[in-house]
């Protein structure tokens, strides 16, 4: 009996959490489409979210492209199909690995930073202070971060795609015996516009998820430094899980045959 009550309570609190998140999302979107627009803050956030994420995203994309080339070569070797490396690398990077790796790296960097900053503002009453200064905290804090993340993630992923393909190219030409010009020609001929745009659409969705989970967890943190720490952790964990779930759903929608 107690066991059932426990399950019931867990389900109820999960539903309540989903309801709160949905209402927070709705309020954020409503604030997104109504004036004032803080363009100055959007610019700041584009720098913080986009520009400063370039090194991590670039490095991880490079190594992922290299490892991918190596694995495809070894796997293809079993069927005498090693020549397929450039085609599969560009497909894997643009459709899946570029957006997912960039999404997870930015989730770790940015969702955590947003949750820590907004969470600290929450527990030190800075968010209440915004309200008393006739400023809507959702509009002032959430909207610039959402806009900046949705705008910059596709750009980051476009860069990650290029660097990832380059990583594959370096490994293929340096240690797998491919000729540079042929590798590049095969890459260009094989990749379609849809491979690339599908990845960029994913990137925009991931950007939304990252900023939303950072803001939501920050706004709901309570109880001092420990609460802010909890908010930061759950922002990263929930953003990462939602990115992987959204990735599966988007893949099945964008490539449904």
């Amino acid at each position: 009996m107690n066991f059932l009550a426990g399950i019931g309570r867990a389900v109820l609190s999960l539903l309540a959490e989903i309801g709160r998140l949905a209402s927070f999302t709705a309020r954020s979107i409503a604030a997104l489409v109504s004036p004032p627009i803080y363009s100055r803050l959007i610019g700041q956030q584009i720098m913080r979210i986009g520009y400063f994420s370039l090194p991590v995203v670039g490095l991880t994309a490079f190594f992922t492209g290299g490892a991918l080339a190596l694995q495809i070569y070894l796997g293809g070797n079993r069927y005498g199909a090693e020549a397929i490396v450039p085609q599969i690398v560009v497909l894997g990077i643009t459709r899946e690995l570029g957006p997912v790796i960039a999404g997870l790296m930015v989730a770790g960097r940015v969702a955590a930073a947003i949750a820590a900053e907004i969470g600290t503002m929450k527990v030190t009453e800075q968010i209440d202070a915004l309200t008393t200064l006739a400023t809507n905290p959702i509009k002032y804090l959430v909207v610039p971060r959402l806009v900046a993340a949705v705008v910059t993630m596709p750009i980051l992923v476009a860069i990650a795609d290029s660097i990832g393909v380059f990583g594959g190219y370096v490994v293929a030409t340096q240690s797998l015996g491919f000729t540079g010009s042929i590798y590049l020609k095969n890459t260009m001929d094989f990749a379609t516009r849809q491979d690339i745009t599908s990845g960029l659409i994913k990137a925009a969705v991931f950007g939304f998820v990252i900023a939303l989970m950072g803001c939501y967890n920050g706004f709901n943190s309570k109880g001092g430094a420990q609460g802010v720490g909890r908010a930061t952790t759950s922002a990263v964990v929930s953003a990462s899980i939602l990115i992987l779930a959204a990735n599966y759903i988007l893949t099945s929608v964008l490539f449904n045959k």
Binding site: E117, T124, E125, Q126, T131, A134
Partner: protein, 255 residues
Amino acid sequence: MTAKIQLIGVKKSFGSKQVLNGIDLTIEKGSSLVVIGGSGTGKSVMIKCVLGIITPDEGTILVDGQDVTHLRGSAREPVMKKFGMLFQGGALFDSLPVWENVAFGLIQGRGMKRSIARDVAIRSLAKVGLPEDVAFLSPAELSGGMQKRVGLARAIAVDPEIIFFDEPTTGLDPIMADIINSLIASTVKDVGATALSITHDMASARKISDHIAMLYAGKIIWTGPTSQIDNSGNPYVDQFIHGRAEGPIKMAVKA
């Protein structure tokens, strides 16, 4: 004449814990009321209900006769523009320099140009005794007393009709506390504002108020002119103002 602020039967509970249990309170225009009460009795919750940061479960809050209890969002903005608030911990925005903190309500709330707002901010800082070079520091570089002053400058920069003070002297040394009290008393008079303050510091309450109310067990149990506080005839008030452990007030150990 309608009262500046009126609370009628305001109730608020968090979970099973009843914090406010029917608050009735009237603040006349131009007066300075201090609500006293022990830690955790719900003083901050009460002020946040008036500010619209917390929504009461029951009861009505009137500002200038207008029912603002459930006003939210853009409908509430004209009411918020009447308010200035000094938070218990200062609540300065640590991502902005001091002058932008002070000018925040002018720039974001009222759309004033940044260059003009900066001059207004520097004048506000001067009113609380801070020199111009403080304007360009970050709040983290200031001492607690200076942060309180900046918070006060921010509260008065918007020329509010009503100023709220949440424990303005808590955490300050006695001399700095007295300086802040004098600043509050004089700025409230200069701005011509109505003031609602909460504190458990009796010296501060006597200095900045013309009326005092006492909050206990979720209700206002006594209210009267500051000059009458020593002859209230109320054992709860007597115990509180003399800080006696013995008396009708039983301290709950768990907040």
